[in-house]
């Protein structure tokens, strides 16, 4: 991107570079403190997590993770003494608090729901979006600009406003609280962005490639499959990451339209409570597990992401 040459007069001076570096590093460090705090809290014991002043150094414990994955019931000391020796670390920690593990919590199924719905809807949105983007890019579609603008404007609606009729429609169709319903909804929301981004990427692939292939006897579909798709993989990957991040992070629709079997992790995590209030180490543990996939994605694929964000925003 850099256009500056070694002899350019506009290279920033060393002092201004130093000041900029100090300010940016300071901002970056402060802005990730909340995230580091989530991570740290997930390894604290409940008493450590609510200590005053807040503890920066502490004895790490996986109690938060134990509590995240289990439900526990309070028992008398005699009952706990009568039990056979604890078989796992989680058992031991729970008993120290005069409780026994009653069973698995809902976190794992909710997390799996998130995986199914996010990946399912991303696949559908990218699949449909690629086809539609190719259609808009290569053929004269009547009213193409209006259609494209309309597709994009569907994202301007507040999610609650969209959720009212969707709620009624899903109730009629039996799609309430179902993974299929959520996949359909997220696909519809994401496909607008997917078409918009992918059209840009496909516009950049020269038409001559397909035309040459078609002169060689390929049909239009074969040319699309064998010539255009391989060229568009970077764009498709970038689009897929965006769709995946949206579907993974979405809260409003999930909170209003799912309650049980199809509930995803975002509406579930805030409901994790212990005795007498929110169990913050368990919430932090759930939050950490939930954030890690996106963090890894962001760092590994930052170049595509950057391109996608600026690209999507800066195009006319």
């Amino acid at each position: 991107m850099s256009l500056t040459t070694a002899h350019s007069v506009v290279v920033p001076s060393t002092t201004s570079k130093r000041i900029a570096a100090v300010l940016i590093v300071a901002y970056a460090l402060i802005s990730i403190v909340p995230l580091l705090w989530i991570f740290a809290t997930s390894f604290k014991t409940p008493p450590d997590s609510i200590a005053y002043p807040p503890k920066i150094l502490f004895q790490p414990s996986t109690e938060g993770y134990c509590n995240l994955f289990t439900t526990r019931t309070r028992q008398t000391a005699e009952y706990i003494a009568s039990l056979p020796p604890a078989t796992s670390f989680c058992d031991e920690v729970t008993r120290k608090r005069n409780m026994v593990i009653a069973g698995p919590s809902n976190f794992l199924p909710r997390f799996v729901n998130s995986l199914i719905i996010a990946f399912g809807s991303t696949f559908c949105a990218v699949f449909l979006g690629t086809l539609a983007a190719y259609g808009f890019s290569r053929f004269k579609v009547p009213l193409a600009d209006d259609l494209l603008f309309f597709i994009l404007s569907t994202r301007m609606m507040p999610p609650i406003a969209v959720a009212i009729p969707i709620y009624l429609m899903y109730r009629e169709l039996g799609l309430s609280d179902s993974a299929l319903g959520m996949i359909l909804l997220y696909t519809a929301v994401n496909v607008s962005l997917a078409v918009w981004l992918l059209k840009g990427f496909i516009d950049e692939i020269p038409r001559e490639y397909e035309e040459a292939a078609m002169i060689d006897g390929y049909t239009r579909l074969q040319a699309f499959w064998k010539v255009v798709l391989p060229q568009a993989t970077t764009g498709i990957a970038a689009t897929a990451i965006f769709c995946l991040i949206f579907a993974w992070n979405e809260y409003a629709f999930a909170a209003l339209l799912t309650s049980g079997t199809a509930q995803t992790a975002p509406p579930f995590i805030p409901t994790i409570i212990g005795e007498g209030g929110q169990d913050w180490p368990a919430v932090a543990a759930g939050t950490t597990i939930f954030l890690v996939p996106i963090l890894v994605f962001t760092i590994l694929l930052r170049k595509q992401l950057l391109r996608g964000i600026t690209f999507g925003a800066v195009r006319k």
């Binding site: 802005s31 995230l35 507040p158 969209v162 959720a163 429609m169 390929y218």
Partner: protein
């Protein structure tokens, strides 16, 4: 003698023919470009019609009735424009709209200033700027709901890190920093989290803008001995303005819809000090179950966003043409 059957082109064609079943080939080769176009665009259109357009019209229909979703068997009466009339004359709705406007104004102001500032600094291209840019971007990739929920812990008056840090700097006892339950602080608790999450987004768009300014303009300004402040005011700012305006548009639309964080941090409280339009809509639609009334409100909101965004885009285009 040259065997035509083994020429590379023929071999390729044969391979293609073999890999597709003959019936499919017949059908596929018969497709005109127009058919392919509709085959490709059709499914997306059908999905959008089913999940976006049809429900939208349903909501428009409901907005003229007194339908309640929790009593599906009650007779539905048409009430004409009464729902719209009631919303537009309801002082509570206007208060919610004001709260929303307040949020949009402050979040956009802070995010634009911080985002542009960060972009300007990163554009100094110091060593390691790419790494620190990635770190700064992390908050905007994360779920506003899940991270926003955790901010409730950071905001806890005594044990929370935020209250502790503020009291450490300001000397106010940490028990008095009640970000979520104090009427005058609660709106700021949401503005702070939103700014923390989304300033990087504004930064990215501004950065694209700053990098689009060709160097020769600055070189010419150097030759003319324009001061750095002068260069900033008459080159950098005007040339980055369309990008800044674009960032404001995107953040404006998003924050007009703001729901996740408000719902989790304050739930509209204390009282109704942070009750933005989305929260009012949720209460009317999914707690009071006034489906017809809330549909009318949803339509009004949609028209408002759409109208404002269109006016804004016109202004943006005028700036771009300059």
């Amino acid at each position: 003698m040259i065997d035509t059957k083994t020429s590379p082109l023929n071999r390729a064609a044969e391979a293609v023919a073999r890999s597709t079943p003959s019936r499919l080939v017949k059908r596929v080769t018969g497709l005109s470009d127009r058919m392919v176009a509709w085959l490709f665009i059709g499914p997306t259109m059908v999905l959008l019609l089913a999940i976006n357009i049809f429900p939208l019209f349903w909501a428009i229909g409901l907005s003229f009735t007194n339908y309640r979703a929790n009593r599906p068997n009650e007779p539905v009466e048409s009430v004409g424009l009464r729902n719209y009339e009631r919303i537009l004359t309801d002082p509570d709705i206007w208060i919610a709209m004001q709260t929303t406007a307040n949020f949009v104004f402050w979040t956009i102001l802070l995010q634009t200033v911080i985002g542009f500032g960060l972009a300007y600094l990163i554009d100094r291209k110091f060593r390691g700027h790419a790494f620190w840019t990635t770190i700064i971007l992390v908050p905007m990739m994360l779920s506003p709901a899940v991270v926003g929920n955790f901010w409730r812990f950071l905001y806890e008056p005594q044990i929370g890190l935020f209250a502790y840090a503020v009291s450490f700097v300001s000397g106010i006892p940490p028990t008095e920093i009640e970000m979520l339950s104090n009427v005058s602080l609660a709106p700021w608790s949401i503005i702070i989290v939103d700014t923390w999450m989304w300033s990087p987004y504004v930064m990215l768009i501004c950065l694209a803008g700053l990098r689009s300014i060709p160097d020769y303009i600055y070189e010419a300004a150097e030759v003319d001995r324009a001061s750095p402040i002068r260069q900033f005011l008459s080159i950098t700012l005007p040339m980055a303005l369309p990008f800044i305006m674009l960032a404001i548009l995107f953040r404006g639309i998003e924050n007009f819809k703001m729901f996740d964080m408000v719902n989790l941090l304050t739930g509209g409280g204390p009282g109704s000090t942070t009750e933005v339009a989305s929260i009012t809509l949720k209460r009317e639609a999914f707690e009071k179950w006034r489906t017809g009334y809330s549909s009318a409100f949803a339509i009004i909101l949609f028209v408002a966003v759409f109208g404002l965004a269109n006016i804004y885009v016109k202004a943006l285009n005028r700036v771009k043409q300059r």
